[in-house]
């Protein structure tokens, strides 16, 4: 099993979810995060003081998939999340040793 973890722009989330569902991904978990990268943040003004806020709101999408689904998953995300402008984000893949479905106790690929 692999954990596919993607940092994406917030407004593409629904698309990404739809594409993942089509690709056969049955579950995923989303976290609101802030990103720092090539994309610049914004300026806030407070009574004459300008402050630069470097962090940009992003969404992190995590899904654990069976090994054979990794490529489809990565592709689905990349496709749905690409707007072509800076800050589109990244997809990371890493190894997961075990998965357990809490409700049933199923383990491994069954649990996903």
């Amino acid at each position: 099993m692999k954990l596919v973890s993607a940092i994406i722009k917030p407004h593409v989330l629904d698309d990404v979810r739809d594409q993942l569902a089509k690709a056969g991904v049955q579950g995923l978990t989303v976290t609101e995060v802030k990103g720092f990268g090539r994309q610049k943040g914004h300026t806030e003004i407070y009574r004459g003081a300008e402050y630069t806020v470097d962090f940009v709101p992003k969404m992190k999408v995590e899904t654990v998939v069976s090994d054979q689904l990794v490529e489809a998953t990565t592709d689905a995300i990349t496709k749905a999340a690409r707007t072509g402008s800076i800050g589109d984000g990244k997809v990371f893949v890493s190894e997961v040793m075990q998965a357990v479905r809490i409700r049933t106790g199923e383990i491994g690929d069954e649990a996903l």
């Binding site: 003004i45 407070y46 009574r47 004459g48 300008e50 402050y51």
Partner: protein, 432 residues
């Protein structure tokens, strides 16, 4: 013209006194239900300015970890000043100080002698003192913005009890209670000197003595919720109608004109700030326009009983411009940390307003005072300002030293970094 109620004093010039002495409590008269209705309403409106108005205005501007602390400070000041006022402070301001009356009043402890039937002017004295109390509440509460995010709650309470007694009560007596500034003919209809300058200067002294917040000015200390601040501003604006139009003490033409000029000054000052900011930074901010209106409201306060629409436009514009400069430039120039710009807005706005009153009260400039000697009046206004700046500044300095010596005025670095809500009150503003 408005019906006024005050002690019979020897007038310098009738018109000056009519506008300069609107508040004395002693005279007996016949109760007028319309005036009473408006003064009851005005009392509610001015309390509404402090809680929730001002406390929301400030609550929105601090960081989320201090949001309750400023609300707590405003609320506790409200309760405490009410008690001091009832017990003795009303007497210090409006009691008869006998031979010392030029400087301080005396008597009326526990509101003694105020019965259901006691009338002051055309309203019950119970209402008169209630209305005046709301001014004694908001004045110290204004300062909360200067020492926000770093002052000990206990020290704040002790300091404010002393300050109301030793600074607010005398200054209010000088200007409204038959004291020497009133005798001289200084015009301060609704509290430019008594409220805004006295609090603005004290705020400046206090924030300098307390020191900067850790991280200021390099770290962003973005407001936790400008929504709250805009709501607070709106409530202050509405409540200010009670503050200024209520200072007529009656439901009459003076009250009506006071409300109109108050509204105009607020609007012009807000737009002035917004447009200047827009041209400086490329974008207009809601905090900018909101702060501008507060500046315009502070500045029109002393003038609202005597100027007309044109005076209101000039005062509003000047206040918007000078306070913009005060909050955005002056503060950075000198590097003090007046957290929420109490001096920049109320101190500067108050000074501008008190000065300009000396000119725009004249009917030659659209005001309602005939035969006003503008040059002389400007001099009087300047004296009123100078006396108050020095008195409030020096006494505040002394009081801060005293309280700091007794119990310390500043929270620890760790408490500051945790935030005052948890550190001092074991509470958190939001659990969403």
């Amino acid at each position: 013209m408005t019906t006024l109620r005050r002690k019979p004093v020897v007038p310098l010039a009738a018109t000056v006194l009519v506008l300069g002495l609107p508040r004395l409590a002693a005279a007996q008269g016949e109760l007028n239900t319309g005036d009473t209705a408006w003064m009851l309403t005005s009392s509610a409106l001015v309390l509404f300015m402090t809680i929730p108005g001002l406390s929301l205005f400030y609550a929105g501007l601090v960081r989320a970890k201090n949001v309750l602390s400023v609300m707590m400070q405003c609320f506790a000041i409200t309760c405490m000043v009410t008690v001091l006022w009832t017990v003795y402070a009303y007497g210090l301001v409006f009691g008869d100080g006998g031979s010392l009356n030029g400087f301080i009043g005396f008597g009326k402890f526990f509101l003694a002698d105020i019965e259901v039937g006691t009338v002051s002017g055309t309203i019950p004295e119970s209402v008169f003192q209630m209305f005046q109390l709301t001014f004694a509440i908001i004045t110290p509460a204004l300062m909360v913005g200067a020492f926000a995010e770093r002052m000990k709650f206990s020290a704040m309470m002790v300091f404010m009890a002393l300050w109301v007694t030793i600074v607010y009560a005398p200054v209010a007596h000088w200007v409204w209670g038959g004291g020497f500034l009133q005798d001289m003919g200084v015009i301060d209809f609704a509290g430019g000197i008594v409220v805004h300058i006295s609090a603005g200067i004290a705020a400046l002294v206090l924030c300098i003595m307390l020191g900067k917040r850790s991280g200021y000015p390099t770290t962003s200390m973005a407001p936790n919720s400008l929504v709250l601040t805009v709501v607070g501003t709106s409530m202050l604006w509405v409540g200010w109608f009670g503050f200024n139009a209520g200072s007529a003490g009656a439901a009459d033409g003076t009250a009506g004109m006071a409300m109109a000029v108050t509204h105009i000054s607020a609007a012009i000052a807000g737009l002035t700030w917004m447009l200047w900011e827009w041209s400086n930074y490329g974008k207009p901010s809601v905090l900018g326009i909101a702060t501008g209106t507060i500046a315009g409201l502070a500045a029109i306060t002393p003038a609202s009983g005597s100027v007309g629409p044109v005076g209101a436009i000039v005062i509003g514009f000047t206040a918007g411009a000078t306070c913009y400069w005060g909050a955005n430039r002056l503060k950075r120039l000198f590097g003090y940390d007046d957290s929420l710009d109490v001096f920049g807005v109320h101190g500067i706005g108050g000074i501008v307003g008190v000065l300009l009153t000396g000119a725009f009260a004249s009917d030659a400039l659209g005001g309602s005072m005939e035969n006003l000697d503008i040059g002389n009046q400007l001099r009087l206004q300047a004296v009123g300002i100078a006396v108050t700046v020095v008195y409030s500044g020096v006494l505040t300095f002394v009081l801060v030293k005293v309280v700091d010596g007794m119990i310390g005025i500043r929270v620890t670095a760790e408490e500051e970094s945790t935030g005052l809500d948890l550190a001092l009150h074991d509470e958190r503003g939001f659990n969403l």
